[in-house]
């Protein structure tokens, strides 16, 4: 231990002798390390963001819809709906959706708005948040009540944000009482996937709209599985129903959000890995910087090395001394990089009050890699130093 401290002292003395370029070399290493940490953090933030968008559409969600393309008519019928209710296991809630449109007057102008018909479970299944009032109930649905909830956007356009209490809207020449205003749980979900609940939308009870709009097919069926584990069962049971009715699933889409989640996770992992490889290159460049500087140092200190060898330093002492110098450069560069790479996201998160995750693993890996890069690239110059011919390096011949 005593001899390690001694070598550490020699190494620090050596670095102190060339403070300027030691700091620059450290900086190079630091930037490499910082970029690895930052890239991984960005990757994680992006991934969390996209995942939250998808999950915001509704958790454990399975959706079934016909594309209408194919030899047979591929649209969900009301009979299919009954079969789904009968046969699909593991269901938490079900929300069939009728997708219609109506023209309403907004500030004296006729405007087309989407009119959805769905069950009372729709709000829960599609993760809708009520801004004002409430969603309609099962009883209202059964009684064919003429009530509607409207989207935040429609509310803004038609009522300028005023309270909707006592207000109504004319749809299909009928007066619907407005009982609530909603927004989507994760609003930007609309950007990710076409969301029928986004934009200028009014939602009426399912059976009301079926009757009023003379609907013959169900546009989309949302099934919320009762647990994440039940998602698979729901998907396969729903598929069985479609196959029983139509012979195959051609022309139908039966998917869970898990499919998208897995895909997104795979994509973001691939992107993060790619970015990490690029950031790794800057680590490599930092390492080459260390090797370069150490080679210069070893050449400059040829006589110093010769003197130490003449005084009885072992080859191992010289090797360890220069390896330590390279190690100190890369480790302090690595620390600096971790400080920047973890500090910057944390600072941004603090200032803008958003949680920015810093991956502990990325910090550890970046630090470990920068250290081994230093040792690896320091080895060659250190070996060169240790292998010097004493007589030549003393340089008096």
């Amino acid at each position: 231990m005593g001899s390690f401290r001694l070598l550490l002292r020699f190494a620090v003395e050596g670095l102190r002798g060339q403070r300027g370029r030691s700091i620059l070399t450290m900086l190079g290493m630091g930037i490499g390390t910082a970029s690895v940490v930052v890239v991984v953090s960005i990757g994680l933030v992006g991934r969390d963001y996209v995942v939250s968008l998808i999950e915001g559409v509704g958790s454990n969600l399975v959706f079934v819809y016909g594309t209408g393309i194919g030899p047979k008519p591929t649209q969900l019928s009301f009979e299919d709906l009954d079969l789904m209710q009968e046969r699909v296991r593991g269901v938490g809630a079900m929300a069939p959706v009728l997708d219609d449109a109506a023209t309403i007057a907004i500030k004296g102008e006729p405007r087309v708005v989407a009119v959805l018909g769905s069950t009372a479970d729709y709000a829960q299944v599609r993760n809708l948040k009520m801004i004002e009032g409430r969603f309609f109930t099962e009883t209202e649905d059964d009684n064919l009540a003429k009530v509607a909830v409207i989207s935040k956007e429609l509310h803004q356009e038609k009522f300028g944000g005023r309270s909707v209490e006592g207000e109504s809207v004319r749809l299909f020449d009928l007066r619907f009482r407005i009982i609530g205003v909603y927004k989507e749980g994760v609003e930007s979900a609309a950007a990710l996937e076409k969301s029928e609940a986004a934009g200028m939308v009014a939602i009426a009870p399912f059976w009301t709209l079926k009757q009023v709009g003379n609907a013959e097919v169900v546009d989309t069926l949302y099934i919320q599985a009762e647990s994440p584990e039940a998602v698979g069962t729901v998907v396969s049971d729903a598929r069985d129903v479609i196959v029983a009715q139509y012979g195959s699933t051609d022309g139908f889409t039966i998917e869970s959000l898990d499919t998208y989640l897995t895909l997104v996770e795979q994509i973001s992992d691939a992107i993060t890995l790619g970015l990490m490889a690029i950031a790794g290159v800057s680590l490599l460049v930092g390492g080459i910087g260390i090797m370069n500087i150490m080679l210069v140092t070893v050449t400059e200190r040829t006589r110093d090395i010769g003197i130490r060898l003449a005084l009885g330093a072992g080859r191992r002492d010289i090797l360890a001394q220069f390896l330590l110098e390279a190690g100190i450069l890369s480790v302090s560069g690595g620390l600096l990089g971790v400080l920047i790479g973890a500090g910057a996201p944390l600072y941004v998160g603090f200032v803008y009050d958003v949680p920015v995750p810093v991956s502990v693993i990325s910090v550890l890996v970046a630090f470990g890699v920068s250290m081994s890069v230093g040792i690896f690239f320091g080895l060659y110059p250190a070996r060169k130093a240790a292998g010097m011919n004493i007589v030549d390096s003393l340089g008096y011949e």
Binding site: R5, R308, V391
Partner: protein, 236 residues
Amino acid sequence: MSLPVDRDLEKPLIALSGVSKTYAHEGVPVHALRGIEVAAARGELLAVMGPSGSGKSTLLHVLGLLDADYQGTYHFDGELISGRDGDELSGLRNREIGFVFQQFLLLPQLSILENATLPALYTRDRAPDVCEKLARQCLIEVGLADRLDHRPNELSSGQRQRAAIARALVNEPRLILADEPTGALDSKTAQEIMDLFLQLHAAGSTIVLITHDLDVASAAERIVHIRDGQIIDGLL
């Protein structure tokens, strides 16, 4: 071989026998040493004299274990040390040999005290503060008590050579090898350094002085002459 003083050369401290060294200089083989036979007794002050190019520097490298690539045998205190590996030689060099060079070869970034401590630190068997205490003692002995924290470039060349001598003494080596130790000094300072060597000699150190300067060599008990890589005694 003439022995001006009674010295026991039956049991010399160092003894080279049949030492030859040939190296290629721009493709031409140069015979730096040819069958050197030389020995120094314990406590002897021996001068090796020769003009430049005579092979005396090469001889110093061999004696100082700085160069292990030669033919022939080298006995140190009766033990055969030629052919030993690098680690063993660096250990021997560290403990048994103290160097004094013409160009002093102090490390410029270290203080005089740190310079003198260095060989003791490389021995690795004593705590750093013990090593420093030894070095301080040696520096006081050579008259640099008030210069311990100075860097070499803050000292006169005479003082630098004293510091180098203190460094050579710190591990109490059995052999002191001096290579033109006064070559870079003015005559007054040179005399002071020679006096220091004579003092060490009087205290019992074995010293080999390598020089081309007859004034320096004449301070020794015995002079051997080297020319064209061979010891030529009795010519002068």
